[in-house]
């Protein structure tokens, strides 16, 4: 058996994808022009699939902070914080994030993926129990492979399903099995854009004495009066023992973090391999993230309002045309398509029309669904989004995904 034979099934699916004439997994952004536009295939395209929720990648104050940091401290740290030490700015960033959440401790990671991977796999070990939502992100699933804890999945966004699984953690005599229980949830799920019923989940966790970890990757900035995420909007910030997030979406850079009030939290700095054995964030990233966090704190309410106005424009506009969308409003809008080839074809047609979104197909999606995944930006204009709805409606009708235009009275009846 050859090394790559095990991937034969995936290779077949991938070949299908490429027969459409464009490869969505190897798209080249020839030049990114702004948070909402990029040149792709020689043409200026509207980008509605970049997770750039506040559009801060081109915020002049964030860009200047990064430039100043490079001039002052160079391009990179060339090593991990354990080996090369922390720069003052790493420590300052951690203090600012902790303060933003009103938590005592914060650890910063080089990517959001590593934050989940490192924290989750280190928090639980032998004889502990890790309970994860069935639709969890790949970083959470990968953490499961790195821990000795028993991992149990519960049904997506279903507190009763979690309750049943926590209840079952009994020994032969009906007593509770020893070992910690850690429950992992996400603020906004990245494929369909739906939120966890966090208040109900927290109640279940309290009942069984389980720790709660919430990944706010897609909800930082977007949810809560101060933009802290679902923990804040659901009113359970104090009940969430660990909050993980990323700098690569709303904050427009790269990196991850975890905050907590646990007095022993800092022990993770010498036990978490994904923190210890990788180079730390470069000064420019730390500086732009600190500035982006300042923007969230000062202009967050305004940007959040713009973002949600855009969410409503796109979501309502697509529903009105008959598209089947994810279950609730959110900065991620997932458009259901009947199958993989239809999704790829639709995606390709949109790119030809100058609109870039993500395409998500099995096995990366829950329940085998095929999706066009759109993510909104606070600085998308109404005109851009109206244009997108028109284009999608046209393609949708051509492909028979949505019905023909309704005949108005006095028409060709």
């Amino acid at each position: 058996m050859g090394l790559f034979d095990r991937h034969a099934g995936l290779l077949d699916a991938y070949r299908d994808v490429r027969t459409t004439g464009a490869d969505p997994f190897q798209i080249r952004m020839e030049r990114v022009l702004s948070p909402t536009e990029a040149i792709i295939n020689g043409k200026t395209c509207l980008t509605v699939g970049t997770n750039n929720y506040f559009g801060l990648t081109f915020d002049p104050s964030c860009m200047q902070a990064a430039i100043d940091a490079i001039q002052a401290e160079g391009t990179g740290t060339t090593g991990s914080r354990i080996a090369n030490g922390s720069y003052s700015e790493h420590v300052a960033l951690e203090q600012e994030i902790a303060e933003f959440y009103g938590k005592k401790h914060c650890m910063v990671f080089t990517t959001g993926y590593q934050a989940n991977l490192g924290v989750i796999s280190t928090l639980v070990g032998q004889d502990d129990f890790l309970l994860i939502d069935a639709d969890s992100h790949a970083s959470i699933y990968d953490a499961c492979k790195q821990t000795q804890a028993e991992v149990v999945r519960f049904k997506h966004n279903d507190p009763a399903s979690l309750d049943a699984r926590l209840r079952r953690l009994k020994d032969k005599n009906g007593g509770d099995k020893p070992g910690n229980r850690l429950v992992v949830l996400e603020g906004i799920y990245s494929m369909l854009g739906d939120s966890a019923p966090l208040k109900e989940f927290v109640e279940v966790c309290k009942k069984y004495g389980a720790y709660v970890l919430v990944d706010e990757a897609h909800s930082l900035g977007a949810l809560g009066d101060n933009g802290r995420g679902l923990c804040e909007s659901a009113g359970v910030l104090d009940d969430c023992h660990f909050i993980v997030g990323t700098f690569s979406k709303t904050l427009g850079a790269i990196g991850g973090y975890c905050v907590s009030n646990d007095p022993d939290f800092d022990i993770l700095r010498v036990t978490t391999r994904a923190y210890m054995f990788t180079a730390s964030l470069p000064p420019s990233i730390v500086a732009s993230v600190r500035q982006a966090l300042r923007v969230v704190r000062t202009r967050g309410a305004e940007l959040r309002q713009q973002l949600w106005d855009n969410v409503h424009t796109l979501y309502d506009g697509l529903v009105a045309q008959g598209f089947k969308l994810g279950p609730e409003y959110g900065p991620v809008v997932g458009v259901h398509l009947p199958d993989r080839m239809m999704a790829i074809g639709f995606w390709r047609a949109m790119l030809d029309a100058g609109i870039y979104v993500n395409v998500a197909v099995p096995p990366a999606t829950p329940n085998g669904v095929s999706l066009l995944r759109c993510s909104l930006c606070a600085v998308h204009t109404k005109e851009q989004l109206q244009h997108m709805i028109e284009v999608m409606t046209g393609i949708g009708r051509q492909m028979g995904v949505i019905g023909p235009q309704l005949k108005v009275a006095g028409g060709s009846r």
């Binding site: 069935a134 991992v151 049904k155 009763a160 399903s161 049943a164 699984r165 079952r168 829950p366």
Partner: protein, 97 residues
């Protein structure tokens, strides 16, 4: 027979017999047969003989968990290859309850 409806699937509280477990597994796996004539047996290798991906296996396991009121850890699921092994695992966990 004591059954209780938890809203998603019928929960069996008492320790099931092997026939019940096998029947339920076959029902759950039926949609993944490679042809209408394929018969699912104890020795059927779930991932190899059926048209089912790893995610769908885990989703099917969740349904079985709720039917028989057991939890099968993910690392245990990964080791299971045949229908017989899956039934054995469920019976073992149910007996331990």
């Amino acid at each position: 027979m004591i059954v209780e409806n938890d809203g998603t699937s019928v929960l069996l509280r008492r320790v099931p017999v092997r026939g019940e477990v096998m029947a339920e597994i076959c029902t759950q796996l039926a949609p993944f047969r490679t042809s209408d004539t394929q018969v699912i047996r104890g020795e059927t290798a779930i991932s190899k003989d059926l048209a089912i991906d790893s995610l769908a296996v885990m989703d099917m396991v969740m349904e079985l968990e709720d039917r028989f009121d057991v939890s099968i850890p993910m690392n245990v699921v990964a080791e299971i290859q045949t229908v017989d092994e899956l039934a054995d695992t469920i019976l073992k966990l149910a007996a331990r309850r």
